[in-house]
Each structure stands twice: as C-alpha cells, then as structure tokens.
C-alpha cells in the first residue's frame, strides 16, 4: 500500500493541496496502478537550438567541465546527462525537423512526409489511463503525433492549461458536462452505424480511410467513458495562482509559466506525460539587451552583435530550465523527489540553427533512475541514433520496448542508477 504523502511533497514545492486524494475517489484502473511508483516523462524542444560552442562540454566522461551555458545547472550536475553526437537518422529538412523531434520519422521536409507516433504518445498509450489526462501537449509547436501521423494540437496558453487541470466547474456545469459526455458516446455510436452502412460501397483505396475512422470513433468513445469516470473525482486543488497575462514576446516568462503548470500537473498526478514545444517565431524576446527577432538572431551569420543578443536569449532559456529541474527536485515524493521519478528530455531538433543542420543535436537527459553526471560524447561525424536514447527512456520507465523508430539498441553509456 502506498503512503499518502501528497501534502508533504506539495508543501515542499511551495504549494498546498487542500484535497486529500483518497484512493477510493480514484477510478478502479487508476487505483490498481497507483500501487507502483509513478514513472513520468517530460519532453522539451527548443526549435532554434543553442550555439553549439557554448552548449557542449569539451571532454567526455564524468570529469567534464560544465560549458558556459550549463553553468546555471552546476548544483544539479549529478541529476542530468549531457549528450553530444546524437541525431535522428535520415531526419533533415531544417526547421521541419521539429515534427520529427519525438518521432524520428525521416525526411520531414519532403513534400509527401508522413509522420509516425511520438515518444510521449507512445508512453501515454500505455500509462495514460492511470491519470485524469493521458498526456499534455503544450507550447508553440506540437511535439505530439498520433500513430497515424496526425499532430495533436498544442495548448499555447499556460493559463488555459492550468484551468483545464485545476479549475472545477459549478455543480450545474458538471451535470451539463456529464450529459455532454453521455450524449457524445451515443453520437459516436450513431456515427459508427453510419460508417458501417457505407462500408459496402467503398473501394480498396478507401478501405484504409474508413478503418482509420472506425478506430478514431471507438477510441473517442473510450476516452469519453474515461472522462465520465473522472467527472465524480474533483480536480486537485492547488494553492497556486493561475498564470498571469503574458505577452507572446515574453519568451522566458512564457517558459516559466509552462514549467510551473507542468510541475503542478506532475505533483498532483494529473498526468504523467508532457511535451512542450518552445517558440521558433520571429518576435523580439522581452529580454534586456535583445533588440532583434529571435528567429532572425538564430540566422546570425556569425555576426558578433547578433550572436551576443542570441546568447542572452539562450542563457535565459537554460536558466529557466534549470530552475524547473531544481523545483522538481525540491518536491519530495515518498523517499525521493519528483525529479527522481520524472525523465526529462531537453534538446533541439536543430544542431546549428545558423546552418539549419539537423545533426549533432544538443540533448540533455535529466531525472529518472539513471546514473547521471556524465557527458556522453558520440562521433560528431557519424552520429549515434537519438532513438536509442528513446529506448533507454522507455525501458527506464518500466515499459516493454526493444526498439523505437530507427533505433539500433539502447544508448551506450547510459546506465541505471544504483540501488
């Protein structure tokens, strides 16, 4: 039996949970799953990458010196692994590579690109039924893709994500929502009947389309059923204000707001899988000393003034990220902390934005039960497959997976934590 320790760890995070989350209040399947320690996964993509020279440490191994960009993470050195020489085999196409960051589907820039399932959704399919939300997709671009390559829209607004997670409607609204869910299921039933009726008149080429439709309708029905089961479980109450109104150009403020929401979502076990896509837009970030658009700066053409401004943006991004890691570490859970049970993949789909290259990606893996503290340096010319890291992540999360996309094994040098 798992101890009820939510109050303690939430206090550690500076948040007070007013609701004792009793197991009796959880739907049956979630109750069964709650006995094992939750394994969580967060992916973060920074689509304009980082200036490589400032990001990667010089030497491999445990004795590497922190690069200038990694300095803010000095106190957390033992909680992350830095990887160089990784990339997705066959993934090119400049900015379009962001579509393949979590899927590793080749040639995202080609005219007839078809995407495949993303790592977060692969995990959510297996453990998503244990929480109110199977997964969260946040940010400016979506990292999440369904099995048949449809993008899952990202929630741009931290405030909206917060309200979905934690704000409960009035009793009347809840009753209306319940009716909607029930009616939704009967709609799916009817539509299924409608699709079956046309099954006879479709040719071979349309058969696949119709099968997709059947699957989508059946799964929607299952999701509505799950939502119905959760309507009677009140949403967790957190002692945190909803995120403030933010300007799109407030790049760092936006990051921090997303990170806060993610931390709250994980600590209340509202979800265990999150994907956050950072901004690649041309707006001028509201950071002192930065006067030009972020995207434009990334095409610095080695212009020192532009590189100086770009550095300000990138340092601020990394500072916000390490603060997020620190906050997770400060959130106690059982005899460990949130960071210990959350694998965080942080990186970029571009190696060098100024050259639009998709090799030598900056990749950092934090948290989870890994033996961290190392710089795993792979060949910068013949890169090691990044999907191998994905397989390691899956296995460490306790999921059965021998391969993912173009993987050739697990990530060499990434070992489980001792004990």
């Amino acid at each position: 039996m798992q101890k009820l320790t939510r109050r303690t760890f939430l206090r550690g995070a500076g948040v007070c949970l007013a609701l004792p989350l009793l197991e009796a209040m959880l739907p049956a399947r979630a109750r069964a799953a709650a006995t094992a320690a939750p394994q969580r996964f967060v992916a973060i993509n920074i689509p304009l990458s980082f200036i490589p020279a400032n990001f990667f440490p010089d030497v491999p191994g445990a004795d590497y010196t922190l690069s200038s960009y990694l300095q803010p993470g000095a106190a957390l050195r033992g909680d992350f692994t830095i990887c160089s020489g990784l990339s997705h085999p066959g993934v090119d196409g400049g900015h379009s590579a962001e579509k393949s960051f979590l899927t590793a589907a080749p040639q995202p820039g080609s005219r007839s690109f078809k995407n495949t399932i993303s790592l977060d959704q692969f995990i959510a399919r297996q453990i998503g039924d244990r929480t109110r939300f199977a997964s969260l997709t946040l940010g400016d671009h979506s990292l999440s893709w369904s099995e048949n390559g449809v993008s899952i829209p990202a929630e741009h607004s931290p405030a909206k994500a917060f309200s979905r997670l934690f704000l409960t409607g009035k009793p009347g609204e809840i009753a209306a929502q319940e009716r909607d869910l029930e009616d939704g299921r009967s709609i799916m039933d009817t539509v299924l009947g409608d699709a079956k009726a046309i099954e006879r008149s479709v040719g071979a080429a349309d058969r696949q389309k119709l099968d997709q439709f059947f699957t989508a309708v059946r799964e929607t029905e299952q999701r509505l059923t799950k939502s119905q089961a959760w309507t009677h479980t009140p949403k967790p109450v957190v002692d945190a204000r909803p995120p403030e109104k933010l300007d799109d150009a407030d790049l760092v403020g936006m990051f921090r707001a997303h990170f806060d929401v993610i931390r709250l979502a994980l600590s209340t076990d509202s979800t265990r899988v999150v994907a956050l896509g950072g901004t690649g837009y041309g707006t001028v970030p509201k950071i002192k000393g930065v006067e030009q658009g972020y995207h434009g700066l990334s095409h610095h053409g080695k212009n020192p003034e532009m590189m100086r401004q770009l550095e300000l943006v990138e340092r601020a991004t990394l500072q916000a990220f390490f603060d997020f890691l620190a906050a997770l570490k400060a959130s106690a859970e059982d005899d460990t902390h949130l960071l210990g049970r959350t694998q965080i993949l942080f990186g970029s789909n571009l190696g060098n934005a100024s050259a639009h290259s998709t090799t030598n990606l900056p990749i950092l893996l934090a948290g989870g039960a890994h033996r961290h503290g190392k710089h795993l340096a792979f060949d910068p010319v013949q890169n090691h497959p990044l999907p191998n890291l994905f397989v390691s992540v899956l296995q460490r999360a306790g999921l059965e997976a021998a391969s993912f996309a173009s993987s050739t094994g697990t990530l060499t040098g990434l070992d489980p934590a001792r004990g």
């Binding site: 369904s146 009616d183 008149s201 997709q212 434009g296 290259s357």
Partner: protein
C-alpha cells in the same frame, strides 16, 4: 518534366515505339533493362557505389508498388532528360536510350496508374470551417481548434495524406457542438445600443509629455509599434454580447500632405489567450474623414488603433511636427441584428419552436438538413439513423432542444459529412454529376456546392463550363486564390521570419501585408482577365500599391489599394519570381540562399523535383563577416561531380535571384558587418561584396542577370505550363500526380493553348478533362 523539352529524344522514342515488336514479354524487358544498366549505369549505381542514393540492383522490372514506380520514374526522367549517364561518361546512343525508354514506358504507365486513384478525402480544416459557415450560415472561427493538416504534393487537401486520429475526432465533436450552438439562438434578442468611447482620459498624460499629439479632438500617433496593445481604443466600454458592431470615427493624417496609414484590431483582452484580429488596413489624407467599420466581435471586446508606416521611435519634443495619424472618439453601435431569430436559426429549424418541438419536427429538420450536409440525396434509412439518436435522447429525459442538438452534431461527425465521398463503382471510373459538383466546389470555393451546382447536369460540357464560370465569378472564389497562392507561392509563410531590422530598415508590417496582396492580386488579375500564363514568368505590368511601389522604386502610386501598374522599361520586376513575397519566403530573414531559391524555382516553376542532398553533406553556414560570399562557398560545393549533377540545375535560378535581398529589394552589393569592437560585439552595417547574378543554365545558355534569366525561362514556357497545370490539377482533385498523368496534363495544356493560353482557360481545360472527373 514534359518530354516536349527534348524533341530529339521524343522523336526517337516515338519512332522506336512504332518499331517495337509486339508482344515483348516481361522476361525480355528484364533482360534488356539488365543489359542497358550493365552497359551504362551499374558502375555508379549498384550496391557497392550507390551514387545519388540510387541502387539499381533494387529496381524490380515488374515495377510492383509505389516505391518501385517512383524509382523507375526517376530512372526514366534522368535518361529522358539526358542527365544520365553524366556528360563525362560514355553516352548511350540516342536510339539505344530511346529504345530502352519505349520498352519501359508502357510498363511504368500501368504501374503508376494502378496507384493513382482519388481516395476518400477528409475535409481539411480550412474546408471544414468554410463548409460549416456555408451550411449553417454562421461566422465563428473553428479551424484554429483543429489539428494542423498534413500535406502531400505541396498542398494540404491531399486525400491520401489527410489522416484521421482520435484526437481529431474528439475535436470534431467539440467544434460541431460549437457550430450548432452558434446557429441556434435560445435567449432573448439583445437590444441594440449606441455609445461613445473616447481614449482622451487614458492618454492625457502622454499628450502632455508630447508622446502623442492632440489636434481638433483627435489623438495623434507619431510612431508605429509592433505591440498588440494600443492605448487608443474603445476599451472604456466593451461589447456586451457577441454580435455585429459598427464603429464610427474620424481620422486624419497630420503634418503631411500625403496619406497616413493605420490598422484596426479587435481583441477580447482575455489574458494570455487574448485574441487580436486585424479588421483591415486603412488610409487617410490630411482632410478629416469619417470611417464606418463593421465587424463581428466576441463579448467583452474592443477595437484598438495602430498607426502604420511611421518610424518606431521619434524624439519626444512638445509641439513637434512629425507626420502622424489622428483618431477621434468612436461611436459604437450594436449588436446590429437584421433579423430575429437570425437567418442561421431559421434556416436550420424552419418554424419549429424549440420549447414545444416534437419528434416529427426533428424529422422535418433532418430531412432538410441531411442532403445539404452530405452534399447528395439521402436515403430514408440514413435519416432514420439520426432520428433514432434524437429519439433515444428524448427517451432518457433530455429536452427537445438538447436531443435535436445531439442529432445535428452527430450528422456533422458522420463520415458522410467529414469526407468527400465518392462511391466505388466497379463498372465506371467516371464519378457522378453529384460527386463532380463537390469536386468542383472544393476546388474553386474550398467549400460545399450550393443547390444550383448540386442540381446541375455537369456531364454536359456546356453546363460544366457555365457552372465553372459562375463559381469563378462568386466571391467565394477568393478562397481558391488565397489557398492556392498561399501554398504554391508559399505566401502562408510570409510571417515566418522577421528580417533583421538593423540590416533591412525599411521592412514593416505594411510591406509584409502588401507582399501577400501582390501575389494574390496578380493571380486574381490573370484569372479575371484570362491573361496568358506566361505573364507569371515575366510581365510588363505588376499589381502594386504605394508601399510596394516605394519598395520597388516605382514612382506615381499612392494609396494602399492594389492596382495594375505598367512597369518602366528595363524594370527587374514583372512575373512572380521577382515579387517581394516570393523573395521573402525563399530567404531566411538575414541572408539569401541561391540553393533554397533555386529549388523553389525548379519545383514550382519548371516542375522539376530535386532530391534532398545525400546524408552527410555538410551544410553551408552563412558568414557575413568575411569576404566569402555564399556563391563562393557554393562553388566549392559544385566542384564534386556527384553534387554538380543537381546543383548545375539548382544554382542558376538562385544566382539570378541573388540581386534581391530577403525583403525582395533590389541590391547590387551585399551588406557586411564591420566590427568596431570585437570584445563588446560592436560594429556597423556597410556595403560588402558585389552581387554576382550571372550564370548559365545546365544546358549552357548564359545570362547576365535576372532580366536575361526571365527571357530564358520564357523559352521554357512548355515546362512551366505543364508544371502549373499539374499544380492546379493536384490541388483540384486532391491527389498527387504521377507518370501516368503526364499525357493527360500535356493534353490539357495543348487544349488551353489552342484557345489562348490564359489562366482562366487553363482552369476550364482542367475542369473539363477526364482526369478531373475520374476516381
């Protein structure tokens, strides 16, 4: 792409095909192909050395499956275009090559045809929103709530690519509810009010400090900001409910004899999720003018004013004489209600009173609604299914209104609504008139057919022509212009990069907006006047407004409206290649790349798809500090023969376009960053190396710059016509074209050419073709 380019090979091919002994077997072809490869190809393309990523040992002469068809098409084209074997290798004699191609062609045709059928196509989000707007008579935004659509063949309306996921189905359920809710009204009619909003109180202190001016009751802005928030607004009293409002105000340009420009945005100020919707771009002279702007707004919304085309900063001195735009107090009237209940309500429900409706009423409503929603006649059994759902909801105690809504939402989640359904009839490849009506309306309106089109006998060529004309003349044809140019000319990507303000000081929002309008209005002009499609390659006219004319250095154009302007003799403009929008989306904001622009010209003008660089190719990193230009870097690239195969095709168009910077302005010199203090990162922008826009085509013809390059393009008119017809057909029927479509596209181009070669004529030829009406 078209064989027309290579008359000698084509003639040889025709001659050979005629000589070909009948009944050549598969075994013969396998033997002949093997011998041809052995002699000319295997040295570079077998499992040991797969140059260009091609391993001919994997080519199966049975050509089974799409990958094989693609591979053989690639082989066919390289030989037919005389690109392979490369010039330095021993060449097959023309008759041998033509003989091989003639043997390959019928097999490739059959293999390719087998994979090309129009598949049941899901509405993309653009089409989904338009269809619900047209079906229900509503105007709420829906497409932003749906996942991004997948593309294939350069367009996002491709049936094979448009997949459906669970996430998407859930969203359809939500958006269908929103749409039905928007169509039906239950509350009381809101009273129409009129009130006045004056921002003077809020901005008085800025007027006192000199940041804003105040002239004859108008608050004057002297700067253009790229913020989404303006202090001059109707925020003092926001809209009470959703509806149509009229905003009436005075504006005038100050301290100038010319025009002042401004935009009006609507926002609901809902925190982080605040909407900001541009209601339009306006111009005003020194004489005060009254504006009446009508728009549909959300509850608690207001409009805000932004001056455009002014500097980002001016020195703050009281009594200054900087040019500016002044805005007077705003009189707001609304919600303006023409009819109650609204048209959407009456259209859907007829005379049914929701409070006392019965199952019989629901039956009537469904009988009217279903054929329009499904775009075809509907069987009773289909109506009964949805009626059954409504009955089951009534049975569990839902109100009539709730039950009816549920039934209508189900209709909008049905595959019959969500897909352009074309029934499979083993005996006929041609689709029915009803199915053709949908194809035609989704081509030209990006939405459902209206009653007249659904009832038209489109198999009659005269009627088809007349209906096509009617659709093109309708305002909804604007959607075709926007969606087609948005993807073909990539105008949808216009805001993806912000040009570096220090390097490109002239760039502003007004220019960016004008770029999109230029591309669209140029295409519209060709369409309306049925101008020859060669105008797209080069023309002696352009569609310009004041902002673009200034950008291009063409005098005598005032105001924001796009109009036809005859270009001065020797102008570098004319055609689409030198339109600023195209030049911007093919650059990256800071620098230009001849490779990216070259690939764009090859793919979108000449119809020549280029493979991506093989893995491991080092990327070129722009460096604007030193003396090396991008061209010098590229020359290194091209010195290797395997790179040169593609780059001798890609680079020349890109070189010709090097005369244009990332904002589309003409340049003779690159900009260069001059370092003054390396430690502190200080420096300044100055002129750098001269632009070299000369080059020669892969076929040898030299050009001295963009003007001569366009002349060379005109000589390739047939390639372009084939390419454009192919793009239009791909967009029109929502499937990628292949080898087996080439003859049909050639026939369409020939037919269009024989009747004038205009864009409108070409569209008629496409619509009238068998391909357009075949599954």
């Amino acid at each position: 792409m078209a064989l027309l380019l290579f008359p000698d090979i084509r003639c040889a091919l025709v001659a050979c095909a005629a000589l070909l002994p009948p009944g050549l077997t598969a075994a013969d072809f396998q033997k002949d192909a093997g011998a041809f490869f052995e002699k000319h190809c295997y040295d570079c393309h077998e499992s040991g050395t797969t140059k260009g990523g091609l391993n001919l040992e994997k080519a199966d002469t049975a050509i089974g499956g799409p990958e094989q068809a693609d591979m053989w098409t690639h082989i066919f084209d390289r030989i037919a275009h005389d690109e392979m074997p490369p010039p330095k290798k021993p060449r097959p004699d023309k008759l041998a090559a033509a003989g091989f191609l003639a043997e390959l062609k019928p097999r490739l045709l059959a293999a390719d045809r087998a994979r090309r059928s129009v598949v049941q196509r899901r509405l993309n989000r653009e089409e989904y929103e338009n269809t619900l707007h047209d079906l229900l008579g509503i105007d709420i935004e829906l497409k932003g709530l749906l996942p991004e659509d997948q593309q294939a063949g350069g367009f996002d309306n491709n049936g094979a690519a448009l997949a459906l996921s669970t996430e998407q189905m859930q969203r359809y359920l939500e958006t269908a509810r929103m749409a039905v809710d928007a169509a039906i009204v239950t509350g009381e009619r809101s009273a129409t009010e009129t009130w006045k909003c004056d921002s003077l109180g809020e901005v008085q202190r800025y007027i006192d400090s000199g940041q804003f001016g105040y002239v004859d009751g108008r608050i004057v802005l002297y700067t253009t900001s790229d913020d989404t928030y303006s202090k001059i607004s109707t925020r003092s009293k926001r809209t009470p409910v959703r509806g149509r409002y009229r905003f009436s105000f005075q504006a005038a340009a100050e301290n100038t004899t010319g025009l002042g420009f401004f935009t009006v945005n609507a926002s609901n100020f809902a925190g982080v999720a605040a909407t900001s919707k541009n209601l339009g771009y306006y111009e005003v002279g020194p004489e005060p003018k009254t504006f009446d702007i009508e728009a549909v707004l959300d509850p608690k919304s207001a409009i805000q004013f932004f001056a455009q085309g002014l500097p980002g900063y001016v020195k703050n001195t009281p009594g200054m004489k900087h040019p500016g735009v002044g805005f007077g107090p705003v009189e707001v009237t609304g919600p303006i209600i023409d009819q109650w209940p609204p048209e959407s309500h009456a259209r859907l429900l007829g005379k049914t009173d929701l409070a006392i409706g019965t199952l019989n009423d629901a039956h009537e409503i469904l009988r009217r609604f279903l054929p329009r929603a499904f775009r075809r006649p509907v069987a009773d059994s289909e109506t009964d299914r949805f009626l059954g759902l409504i009955r089951s909801r009534l049975d569990v105690g839902r109100s009539f209104e709730e039950s009816l809504r549920t039934g209508l939402v189900a209709v909008l989640c049905s595959p019959n609504f969500l897909y352009l359904r074309e029934e499979s009839r083993p005996d006929a490849q041609r689709i029915t008139d009803t199915e053709l009506a949908s194809r035609l309306s989704y081509f030209l309106w990006s939405s459902m057919p209206d009653d007249e089109l659904l009832g038209a006998k489109l198999s009659d060529p005269k009627i088809l022509h007349a209906q096509t004309e009617r659709l093109l003349r309708d305002a909804k044809a604007e959607r075709f212009i926007t969606n087609f140019t948005g993807q073909w000319l990539r105008l949808r990507q216009i805001a993806d990069t912000t040009p570096d303000r220090k390097l490109y000081k002239d760039f502003d929002e007004l220019l960016q907006m004008s770029m999109v309008r230029e591309g669209e209005s140029f295409f519209r002009q060709l369409l309306v006047e049925d101008r020859p499609i060669t105008d797209i390659l080069d023309s002696d006219w352009a569609m310009l407004n004041q902002r673009l004319a200034e950008h291009y250095g063409i005098p005598g154009v005032t105001g924001l409206a796009m109009r036809r302007v005859v270009l001065p003799a020797g102008s570098v403009r004319g055609g689409v290649l030198t339109q600023a929008g195209v030049l911007k989306v093919t650059a990256n904001g800071t620098s230009t790349s001849p490779v990216l622009r070259g690939v764009w010209v090859l793919e979108n003008i000449l119809g020549h798809a280029t493979p991506p660089p093989p893995p491991g190719t080092p990327a070129i990193e722009p460096d604007i500090r030193g003396a090396t230009t991008i061209r010098e870097q590229l020359d290194k690239h091209r010195s290797s023969e395997s790179c040169a195969v593609c780059h001798k095709l890609i680079d020349p168009p890109g070189f010709a376009l090097e005369s244009f910077d990332p904002t589309g302005a003409f340049r003779e010199k690159y900009l260069r960053w001059n370092v003054s203090n390396a430690e502190k990162g200080w420096g300044s922008v100055g002129p750098g190396a001269s632009v070299d826009a000369t080059g020669h085509l892969a076929t040898g013809e030299p050009f001295s710059g963009i003007r001569e390059f366009k002349k060379l393009l005109l000589a390739r008119r047939d390639d372009f016509a084939h390419c454009l017809a192919g793009k239009l057909m791909t967009y029109g029927i929502g499937r990628e074209l292949g080898f087996s479509d080439r003859d049909a596209i050639d026939a369409i181009v020939t037919r269009a050419d024989s009747t004038g070669g205009g864009l409108r004529t070409l569209i008629h030829a496409i619509v009238a073709s068998d391909t357009f009406a075949t599954r």
